[in-house]
């Protein structure tokens, strides 16, 4: 995973959860496009942070990981779509699997800077300690679970997310956001439904292949 700060000549505030499209153009005119979630708060005026997972078979993510250096220009368009977005509802439960944490991080960061007292909790599923993104920023509002190998001395949750992590909604206004692979989101949605979340209060984003 690598995060990139992109300065925008024409910046627009986004809603936490929205994405940008990135378009690369080769000298022969060939173009490749992918969508990437914004990781930063809209309070960061004039720039966005995109966190991009390296997919070896991909075309856009290897370019970001292996070619891009500070100062390069890239073409971006956005912000896009208004379904998987946090508009200040509370309480909020965020469930992220792997790189699915990226749009949730925009929500967590924005809440910390705007309404730190608002109830928002992140449940974040990763394989190993090396896979944790934004590790230094995860505080009391985040619960980690390690599915493959927990760090030495880890006393917290291990294995896939389960009902011990997903509690009944604290009020009728509660909403939940789940983002990750299709398998992760299916599990997260089932746990949320079983815990008492209404289907309409669960917003999901399934990360397809996005090389």
């Amino acid at each position: 995973m690598k995060s990139f700060l992109i300065e925008l000549p024409m910046w627009m505030p986004h809603l936490p959860g929205q994405h940008y499209d990135v378009r690369l153009t080769a000298p022969d005119g060939y173009r490749a496009q992918r969508s990437y979630s914004i990781a930063s708060s809209p309070l960061d005026e004039g720039r966005i942070e995109l966190t991009i997972d390296l997919l070896d078979e991909g075309e856009v993510s290897p370019y970001f990981h292996e070619v891009v250096v500070e100062g390069d220009q890239v073409e971006v368009r956005g912000p896009f779509t208004s379904y998987f977005v946090w508009r200040g509802e509370s309480p909020v439960l965020l469930l992220g699997g792997g790189s699915g944490v990226v749009p949730l991080m925009a929500m967590l960061r924005h809440r910390r800077r705007t309404m730190p007292e608002l109830e928002m909790k992140l449940i974040y599923s990763v394989r190993t300690a090396d896979d944790v993104i934004y590790a230094e920023e995860l505080g009391d509002d985040a619960v980690l679970t390690f599915t493959r190998e927990p760090p030495e001395g880890w006393g917290g949750h291990t294995g896939r997310i389960d009902s011990s992590l997903v509690h009944a909604p604290a009020s009728n206004s509660a909403v939940a956001f789940a983002c990750g692979t299709n398998g992760f989101v299916e599990t997260a949605s089932r746990l949320l439904l079983e815990a008492g979340y209404a289907p309409g209060s669960i917003r999901t984003e399934r990360f397809g292949p996005s090389g």
């Binding site: 499209d21 378009r23 690369l24 153009t25 080769a26 000298p27 022969d28 060939y30 173009r31 490749a32 496009q33 992918r34 969508s35 075309e59 290897p62 370019y63 070619v67 390069d72 220009q73 890239v74 073409e75 368009r77 896009f80 779509t81 208004s82 379904y83 998987f84 299709n182 299916e186 949605s189 089932r190 949320l192 439904l193 289907p199 309409g200 669960i202 917003r203 999901t204 984003e205 399934r206 397809g208 292949p209 996005s210 090389g211």
Partner: protein, 203 residues
Amino acid sequence: MSAFVSRGFQRRHRPPDELAERLPPGQYLEPGFPVLTAGPTPRIDTDVWGFRIDGMVGEEREWTWAEFHGLPFETVPCDIHCVTKWSKLGTSFGGVSVDTLLEGVDPHGDFAMQYSYGGYTTNLPLADLTGGRAWVVTEHEGEPLPREHGGPARMLVPHLYFWKSAKWVAGLRIMDHDEPGFWELNGYHNYGDPWKEQRYWTD
């Protein structure tokens, strides 16, 4: 923007020419079949499933699962294009043509809203559902349509981006006016022609 070149970027994958020309602009070849759904996956048993055509019609129609399977069944070879940039080429679905379903319905409007179990909606001109261009399908590549891909039944409108093919489809509402559906309200293009790259509102 058109003169811009990304420093050091080169194409990594080159599909064979006969496939490349079937790939709309900005799309890449995806061998799998990714799942993209807004919200939890609904579970609809075939004994409660039904498909309706209602709204501004001379005659409303409704089929149960068993009645639906008494209708002429077609295998539809097609390419599908998702707005999230992947295309799946050379796949196939099996189901009933919307032309067949509309027989005797007498639609009084030029627009339609597909509506689904779970609340999803997507709009399109009625003309895009007729003329052998749209089906209600219950099979994918000869197998029952998996639940995560809209099973037991979904719409198939392969000439538009795939969000215009509603999963868990419950019916078609014929309307005398156009009206945005779920993704059309949330930022995606009202029509969604992949060959014109109509992805977002401003495209």
